[in-house]
Symmetry: C2
Subunit: 403 residues, 2 copies
């Protein structure tokens, strides 16, 4: 079948021609479609067998040859669905409980039919309502440890891993990250936009040569360190969850890159929410309580991650058995994560793609204060990334900056 | 044409069927072949138009599906000739004066016909005769700076470089390096062999956990850091030269790897010669003088390399303009080079492939002393690689250890 973008009027006909009729859906039942697209780049539909009393539903995700939110001026390769499909397949091998199931994959149509996570919400939105997710930190710590360890040279045969590195290059989407995360926010570029009251703070960042050198070093690591098959875009908008379950979605930026980029992106986005909580007009106790939960989550993610990673290492990494090296490796990952996290925080305020955590603050005074705090946090994370030795220091740092 | 290994009796017929008759050679002249193979892995013939008064000659290098010196039990892919051919092509783009010309390439026969460097000697052998090469250090400094800079993300477009990384993986030969350089020498492995009087020294290395952790870190960098198209086997046996010209040969181990691996391999092999000079039974003055030349060469290689690299960076690396970062980058390369060099020194005494610099020492007392000195040197290079800030410190270190 040649590629054509689906529409709400054609997606049910498409599904009716697949083997999903007779597996997910009964052979002859009537299907109903909803348009769900609210991300930046893809078409997303829900197809179900009823409007009120549906008993079965799926998500249809289809790539467009450009970013939906920007338009045809921002071309993106259709092949990103195959990148996402492959990453979901690998992640499902090691963490089936934390990724959506894929029911159907159509490479020509650049389309996947996936599990409908309709009992889950996007984490970023849940955090804007101060919802605590008691399982989240443990799940993400394990997800990170397993997906990163099992796809690295610590576990894989040398030749197999090199073939995978070669097959899984993702030049177009890596380029998006290189530009939007590591480059444009730190120079004059038309894609950037920010609250004009931050200009002084941003000028200071852009003229701080040692800071910019550290950011270049992180960009170099992103571009050259093929450590593991990383998610590549692991922010709180790529996590859907509820009190019991957690699912990591949207790995279309996946490629063999530095492990700490995933860890850092996640921690950086948690820190943005941490800062933003103070600007939602909530009472002090609520803010303090939710911040405490975020801080604990950060500690738990790292603790669970490093325990699981160490345990997998001791069990499987036969050529790398050396306790001194394991310790150094984990320390390096922690320091690099802090660096990547700091860049993520800054680019979400200065660059093209902002976060709703900060953007929906209506009081301009409060918004400016939160954004300046976040910029300072990002900067400090990068600066301290050379000396951090324990995750608790990161949490203390967050408390100090947010006060 | 299907692959068949050439022999001294068939190589001239092979050449007669190529377009080289009429370019390098005259149409109907008689060709004579010599068998030159003295490396470990390939067939090498010289084909010329006469035995005594030859006016034209070429080198025919053909891969075998296994390592010649070891036999069929050590399989090596024929594809390594295409790796070498590609690397020579890229190097010739930036350093035509320092690589042999390729006249003819036959992929099916896994064969290249190349410039006959019959006015040059293998550097390792020249150094065993205390020959000083006044141009060598400057040539190698420039060769390293140009081949590494121009194939890195500092110069190449992000997407182009990633495609190249993917095309140029070299899993089988990288595996040889991972095993023979970074792994086997530090564990019990049947491929290792050494002077039995070194056993105590080697046991000490193999039980030094912090040292082994540093070696693992270097192995991890070798396996994951796709910085530039490196030569991959740049020792003094891969350099042919005379007083005026220098040629870097045999890049069949080439792939996108850490820049410092090339620099470190070269410096490590120079250090082996430095140590070995003391055991050749020469008079003290000759030893001191040649050692001084080696030490100056090491300083010059690094100085020329870093000046040229910095100058290319300032001219072409538009997205990476930051003097603080350039300094940090070059410091990192120096420290990593020291680490890789240290591993190279040790593996040449403990592992499968030794060097003739040390192996041809006939006095067992002297040989043992030189090998112990080299092992200590290798160990110190690795240990000091975290703190080195200037090439002069390396040279002082060499002087101290060799005394």
């Amino acid at each position: 079948m040649t590629y054509r973008p689906l529409e709400i009027s054609t997606v049910t006909d498409y599904i009716r021609d697949t083997a999903l009729m007779g597996s997910i859906f009964s052979k002859d039942e009537t299907l109903v479609a909803e348009d769900l697209a609210d991300g930046n780049v893809n078409l997303v539909f829900r197809v179900s067998n009823g409007t009120t009393s549906k008993t079965a539903s799926v998500i249809v995700k289809q790539a467009l040859p450009y970013a939906r939110a920007v338009g045809e001026s921002f071309p993106m390769p259709l092949k990103r669905i195959s990148v996402e499909h492959h990453a979901l397949t690998v992640q499902a091998q090691y963490c089936p409980q934390w990724v959506p199931r894929v029911y159907y994959y159509d490479e020509d149509m650049a389309l996947m039919v996936m599990e409908d996570l309709n009992q889950h919400v996007i984490m970023r939105k849940g955090m804007m309502q101060q919802i605590q997710y008691p399982q989240f930190a443990r799940h993400l710590g394990l997800f990170l440890a397993r997906t990163l360890f099992y796809t690295s040279d610590l576990y894989c045969a040398s030749e197999v891993k090199k073939q995978q590195v070669s097959l899984r290059i993702n030049p177009e989407l890596c380029r998006v990250t290189e530009d939007l995360v590591f480059t444009h926010p730190f120079i004059d570029h038309p894609g950037n936009h920010w609250n004009p009251r931050l200009t002084e703070e941003i000028d200071e960042i852009r003229t701080d040569s040692p800071l910019l050198a550290q950011i270049m070093d992180l960009k170099d690591r992103f571009m050259t360190h093929a450590e593991a098959l990383i998610h590549g875009d692991l922010h709180t908008g790529s996590i859907m969850l509820n009190q019991h379950h957690t699912a990591v979605i949207d790995p279309e930026f996946s490629f063999y890159g530095p492990m700490a980029f995933d860890v850092g992106s996640l921690l950086g986005n948690l820190a943005i929410s941490y800062v933003a909580q103070g600007a939602y007009g909530l009472n002090t106790k609520t803010v303090a309580e939710y911040r405490r939960w975020i801080a604990e989550s950060i500690q738990t993610i790292w603790t669970v991650f490093s325990l699981e990673f160490r345990s997998l290492w001791r069990t499987y990494a036969h050529s790398w058995k050396n306790e001194v090296y394991i310790d150094q490796y984990l320390h390096r990952l922690l320091r690099e994560s802090l660096g990547f996290g700091g860049v993520e925080i800054i680019r979400r305020i200065v660059g093209l793609a902002h976060t709703v955590d900060l953007e929906h603050i209506t009081d301009n005074e409060m918004k400016t204060y939160a954004e300046i705090t976040a910029l300072r946090m990002g900067r400090l994370w990068i600066q301290r990334s050379h000396q951090l030795t324990h995750i608790d220091e990161l949490v203390s740092l967050m408390r100090e900056v947010a006060l």
